[in-house]
């Protein structure tokens, strides 16, 4: 199957910012995230013939990015723990939401980032993280419920 250079370049140009923002949560900083994303796309270019086409190209590149970010090839990508301090441009703009996200378990946090920063579909999140689509849906539902409950709570306390 393989992927063409044009497809990878097109993905890069369309989705670079989303990649960098999500990767920033696992790479430890925005600069590191930039480096990881550049390396991930370079590696995708070199290995494009190995892309089998059994999932989306984007999910395949996400997996590469996570592997590079983690400096290893973990069997379970869902063990990634997003770092909140590096995730936002100005966390002080919405402290309630940031606190609510901080209280989420790591897997739920990551799915939230992929869904809202990465704008990935359930299927793509499932492919990128190596978990089932049902698990993605359930995790995301719980995460959203927790976040909205926390926001409502904080709003009511004010």
């Amino acid at each position: 199957m393989g992927a063409s250079k044009h497809e990878i370049e097109d993905l890069y140009r369309r989705r670079y910012v989303a990649f960098r923002n999500v990767v920033a949560t696992v790479a430890g900083g925005r600069e590191q995230a930039r480096d990881v994303v550049q390396d991930a796309f370079a590696q995708a270019l070199r290995k494009r013939e190995t892309y089998r086409g059994d999932g989306t190209l984007e999910a395949w590149v996400w997996r590469i990015a996570f592997r590079i970010a983690l400096d290893a090839t973990p069997r379970d990508l869902a063990v990634i723990e997003p770092s909140l301090e590096q995730a936002f441009l100005e966390p002080e703009r919405d402290p309630e939401l940031v606190d609510a996200i901080r209280s989420l378990p790591p897997r739920r946090r990551l799915v939230v980032f992929l869904r809202y920063f990465g704008d990935l579909s359930y299927e793509e999140i499932s492919e990128a993280c190596g978990i089932s689509e049902g698990t993605v849906a359930a995790t995301l539902a719980k995460a959203r419920a927790d976040l909205l409950a926390a926001i409502d709570r904080e709003g009511a306390e004010r």
Partner: protein, 448 residues
């Protein structure tokens, strides 16, 4: 969970996102061409190191060997080979560029690559990078009008199978002179006027210092400087063509560079050859669709007047009802004029390039045929052909399958496309896909 809750979360999270775009595709290409040393470091333990070493060895076998021993094309992909052109040379280029109907961006900076004096003339090879193109331009005695020029798609360099890529081979250039043909007209010996030299030039990977061109039985060494090569030789009425282009790597091994000979004539065998790559069957017969924006005269792109293109260029037998000038790929300089003419709204296109003038194609069967394509080059010395065309609204994506197994996603905008393709990669195939990814059109492109 309500939809309102979901959109509230999305809205508040998006306010926290960092919108700055510091992307740099050239940097990705450079990293891809580099030896994967840092990649290797990322693996932990001896087993991982072994895997990385095997991967590196495999890359050497499949083509990255060339980048490793002679360097990649990073000089062209991300660097600035040569030195800046003089103010006068830059001004002359800008004036010529401003006159062109398919111009490069106004800030395009010319780099001087090779200067040589031969056969009583001064030959200067310049280069520049613009969008996805790497262009070479040769002036003879400083003349800018009619300067031979050729652009190489950046993809061709990052996919190159050899550390040298030829742009033009055996292109006539230089002063006009009169030569004998060897025939007689009555008592007189026949004479014709030809340009006095033949030039061949192209780009080289980092570290290449030797490029040889075989003419008859001997090899002539080209000048190699600043990631480019240039060979100037005298022209005759019946000249011998370049038969082989090669370079020597650091281990002393000769690497033959793929190129298309300028004397390759019409070969019926080539007409029958098709690439084995790409889809062979149409998944779905597309609905009959025209190009909606064209039919309702939506003013996309520029008018002929705005683009400064004379309307006589697109005149045919039937009155032109509507015409627009489009740039299908913002990362290359090609412009396509699309027009509707006659009571049946026949669609014709005119492609305009800075390197090879213009070409007119008409009579595509839209809406019955969803994909109309034309392949052309003006001179046999050109090493790339322009593949351009028009698609109906039934097609939302087109892919080009080259004979070396590469698959290019062809930029498509306002139903037109135009892409330069190396002639050595033909026969090729264009496949059109609908919005659901189903193949709705296939066009085989024969070798030229």
């Amino acid at each position: 969970m309500t939809r309102q809750g979901d959109s509230l979360l999305a809205e508040r999270l998006s306010a926290l996102e960092d919108p700055r775009d510091d992307s740099n595709w050239e940097d990705v290409l450079r990293r891809a061409l580099e030896q994967p040393l840092d990649w290797r470091r990322r693996f932990r333990g001896r087993r991982a190191l072994l895997i990385a070493a095997v991967a590196a060895a495999l890359m050497l076998v499949v083509g990255f060997a060339l980048a490793a021993t002679l360097g990649g094309f990073s000089g062209w992909l991300s660097g600035k080979p040569g030195s800046p052109a003089s103010h006068t040379e830059q001004q002359a280029f800008q004036r010529a560029n401003a006159r062109s109907w398919a111009s490069f961006p106004s800030g395009t900076k010319l780099r001087r690559l090779i200067v040589t004096r031969a056969y009583g003339s001064t030959f200067q090879l310049f280069g520049f990078r613009s969008g996805d193109e790497i262009c070479l331009r040769l002036t003879v005695n400083g003349a800018n009008r009619g300067a031979p020029m050729s652009c190489i798609p950046r993809l061709e360099l990052s996919d190159a199978k050899a550390p040298v890529v030829a742009a033009l081979v055996d292109m006539p250039a230089g002063k006009v002179r009169s030569v004998l043909t060897g025939r007689r007209i009555g008592r007189r010996k026949q004479r014709v006027r030809v340009l006095s030299n033949l030039v061949s030039f192209g780009v080289t990977a980092d570290g290449v210092s030797n490029v040889e061109l075989r003419i008859s039985r001997r090899n002539e060494r080209a000048l190699v400087e600043n990631n480019a090569f240039l060979l100037v030789r005298p022209n005759a009425y019946s000249h011998k063509s370049v038969l082989q282009i090669s370079t020597i790597d650091s281990a002393g091994k000769r690497i033959v560079v793929p190129f298309t000979r300028s004397d390759r004539g019409f070969d019926p065998k080539l007409m029958r050859e098709k690439t084995r790559f790409g889809p062979t069957r149409i998944d779905r017969k597309p609905p009959r669709r025209a190009i909606a924006w064209l039919i309702i005269h939506e003013p996309r792109g520029l008018s002929l007047h705005q683009a400064g293109i004379p309307s006589r260029w697109i005149k045919g037998r039937h009155p032109v009802r509507f015409a627009r000038v489009l740039q299908p790929d913002p990362r290359n300089h090609v412009r396509v004029v699309i027009r509707l003419a006659g009571k049946h709204n026949a669609i014709c296109t005119l492609t305009i390039t800075a390197t090879r003038g213009r070409g007119f194609d008409c009579g595509w069967g839209l809406p019955d045929q969803p994909l109309g394509v034309s392949v052309r080059f003006n001179r046999s010395s050109e090493q790339s052909a322009l593949v351009s065309g028009v698609v109906s609204d039934a097609i939302s994506r087109i892919d080009l399958f080259l004979n070396d197994g590469e698959r290019w996603s062809v930029p498509l905008k306002d139903n037109v496309f135009a892409v330069f393709v190396p002639r050595t990669d033909f026969p090729a195939k264009l496949a059109g896909y609908d919005s659901q990814g189903k193949v709705v059109a296939i066009e085989d492109l024969i070798s030229l």
